[in-house]
């Protein structure tokens, strides 16, 4: 680790490096509640990360530990090659956009944004252009003299971002920063945050419980539950290849069924045998099978791999959401552009690669190795 540390400081802008590392972080609160269990993660410079999980999963605690507001019970926080576990938050090159913005109500927009620079005792002649640039970045030109109470929620959000980025941090932390906005504004801010991150080229770590938000903005997502990192990877990886039933359920909608591996590339579930793309497991190993609702096609009963009866159907604008029960009494959720009749017998069709097989208690390393082995084989076939 020490070698990495010296290497890191010599590292130029273009070289990929871990700006933040959490090593074996545990957090136990005074009342005995265990918020984090052995968290290890690496954050690379210049990327957009999301910490995604339900409330109480520990995602905000991780953010507070990185910012320095909370001390870990055990473990170390490394920043830019230095151990900063005991460093005061005021001295970290990290700034935070708080959940409810935490703007200073007695100061106007300019004074809020200038707060950090004034603390650093910069002369006003330097503060003014910096504040102006930051307000321009969040598209609030001309708002400098407004009172905070005169701003809408979206504008306050922008001020909070400007107040953080004006200090030119190496890492920006965002704690559920969009959750107070209405849906339309939230979408708009998602695009904008991503644009700001690209422009500044710094690392963003975004905490959210909204999977859609995490999927649409991030380069990489850490899915958390129960104080543990469940899975990390790109949004596509996590959506297409969830590591366990929690991730499958939490991210997107899914059909989850218990199953059994018959042999490589053959799995049994819903009382049928199917060809699949997974291998490397023991024969007869109990597994869980995920099929995403949008991967199910409605076909004529004789053409389907499974036969089911449609129970309910909702029209959701761009697709139908259909619930159907197959001959083995399993319920299936189907997203399809074609509707069907209620109580109609339908066939369900899916390709072998639409079946995603999950082993029980598989570590991320084993999981990644297993998936990689398929890819290797696929390229061999070609």
């Amino acid at each position: 680790m020490e070698e990495q540390a010296t290497g890191a400081s010599a590292c130029s802008y273009f070289c990929k490096m871990d700006i933040i590392q959490l090593k074996h972080i545990n957090k136990r609160y005074d009342d005995g509640f265990i918020a984090l269990k052995d968290i290890n993660l690496k954050i690379e410079s210049g990327k957009f990360y999301s910490l995604l999980g339900p409330s109480g999963s520990g995602k905000s605690t991780i953010l507070r530990i990185i910012a320095g507001f909370t001390q870990p019970t055990e473990g170390e926080v490394w920043f830019d090659g230095k151990n900063i576990t005991d460093l005061d938050p005021a001295k970290r090159q990290i700034n935070t956009v708080f959940q409810n913005y935490a703007l200073f109500p007695h100061l106007n927009v300019f004074e809020n944004v200038a707060f950090g620079l004034k603390i650093k005792k910069l002369p006003l002649s330097q503060i003014k252009p910096k504040v102006k640039d930051a307000l321009h970045m969040v598209r609030l030109d001309g708002y400098a003299n407004r009172e905070i109470s005169e701003l809408s929620g979206g504008q306050q959000q922008r001020v909070a971002i400007a107040r953080a980025i004006v200090n030119e941090p190496k890492v920006l932390l965002l704690d559920e920063s969009l959750s107070a906005l209405d849906k339309r504004l939230r979408k708009e801010m998602q695009f904008e945050l991503r644009a700001i991150q690209k422009k500044l080229g710094i690392t963003f770590i975004f905490v959210t419980h909204d999977q859609e938000e995490a999927l649409s903005m991030s380069d990489e997502i850490f899915v958390l539950n129960d104080g543990k990192i469940q899975q990390n990877g790109s949004p596509v990886d996590i959506y297409d290849e969830p590591i366990n039933d929690f991730v499958a359920r939490f991210i997107g909608e899914s059909n989850l069924l218990p199953g059994r591996m018959i042999q490589d590339y053959e799995v049994e579930f819903a009382n049928h045998h199917f060809q699949c793309a997974d291998a490397g497991m023991k024969a007869n190993e109990k597994v869980e099978v995920v099929i995403r609702p949008e991967d199910l096609d409605i076909v004529a009963p004789e053409k389907g791999k499974l036969v089911a009866t449609a129970q309910t159907q909702l029209f959701l604008g761009d697709h139908f959401e259909i619930k159907a029960i197959d001959t083995d009494e399993n319920e299936w959720l189907i997203h399809s552009t074609n509707g069907c009749q209620l109580n109609e017998r339908i066939g369900l069709y899916f390709d072998p690669e639409d079946i995603h097989v999950m082993r029980q208690h598989e570590s991320q390393a084993d999981f990644d190795a297993r998936l990689e082995s398929y890819e290797g084989e696929e390229s061999n076939d070609e």
Binding site: F98, H106, F115, G116, I119, E150, A164
Partner: protein, 270 residues
């Protein structure tokens, strides 16, 4: 409906008149050239002239104001720190005990507080003079300040402290740049209340004041006991006007404060 409104207004007016008549009666006779309050003779400023030539009284007047300013300022500093300490107590039950101890001092009769101070000072051998009065005024003003500042602290958003630390502020800067501005309205109200409590206190002061020092309330009381002197009326009038001025200032400050909070609420709703 209208009849009831008229009745209600008449009642209110009657109550106000009954409350204020004694004061205006007193003020009225301060301009009488007579010797007593039995009959208004003719208009005169003579009592006021006598008042302003009475060096002893002027000294007492100035000392009373000095006492009020000093005691309220010191009580505000101590009371604000006390409120901070109470709000930092983690256990809710302990916080309640502390707050109750604070409130008991507020509601206990002045006579008891005055008597206990007298016993306390004599037991410790502290002389009864300006110092003893100042100490007791500070002591009975602190709970008021605590009570005025604490609600502000309870509604204070501690995320602002994190935000300030995040932006590089030291603990001292967090306090002066973020917490203090949020507490100022409460502190100002506390200061004002302490000021008026000190100005119009009679019972406690009566116990702890010695030969050399007296406040206006005690002086007026002892003069009134010696027999009716219209100079007392003039003195009371001056004091009444002074308090009126203070109330005016207080309303001016709170009106400005309210305007700001209303603006804040508007922003929240939006």
């Amino acid at each position: 409906m209208k009849k009831r409104q008229v009745l209600a207004k008449t009642y209110l007016l009657l109550v106000l008149i009954i409350l204020y008549i004694p004061i205006f009666y007193l003020i009225y006779f301060s301009f009488s050239s007579g010797k007593d309050m039995n009959q208004f003779k003719s208009f005169t400023w003579a009592h006021y002239q006598a008042l302003f030539q009475d060096n002893r009284l002027l000294a007492i007047f100035l000392e009373t104001i000095l006492l009020a300013l000093l005691s309220s300022l010191i009580a505000t500093v101590i009371g604000t720190m006390g409120a901070l300490a109470i709000s930092m107590v983690r256990k809710k039950s302990q916080q309640k005990v502390l707050l109750s101890l604070n409130n008991v001092l507020m509601v206990s009769p002045d006579v008891i507080i005055g008597a206990s101070f007298l016993i306390f000072f004599t037991a410790l051998g502290i002389g009864l003079n300006f110092g003893s009065v100042l100490l007791s005024h500070i002591a009975f003003s602190i709970p008021i300040v605590v009570l005025m500042v604490l609600p502000r602290l309870n509604e204070f958003d501690y995320a602002l402290v994190d935000a300030a630390r995040d932006l590089g502020a030291s603990s001292y800067q967090v306090f002066t740049k973020v917490m203090l501005p949020a507490l100022i309205p409460g502190i100002a109200t506390g200061l004002f209340m302490a000021l008026t409590y000190s100005l119009d206190d009679f019972a406690v002061t009566f116990f702890v004041t010695g030969n050399g020092f007296s406040t206006l309330s005690v002086e007026i009381y002892s003069r009134a006991r010696q027999g009716i002197d219209l100079e007392v009326n003039a003195l009371s009038t001056v004091m009444f006007l002074f308090v009126l001025l203070l109330v005016g200032i207080y309303y001016f400050i709170t009106a400005r404060k309210n305007k700001k909070t209303r603006k804040g609420l508007g922003g929240l709703i939006k």
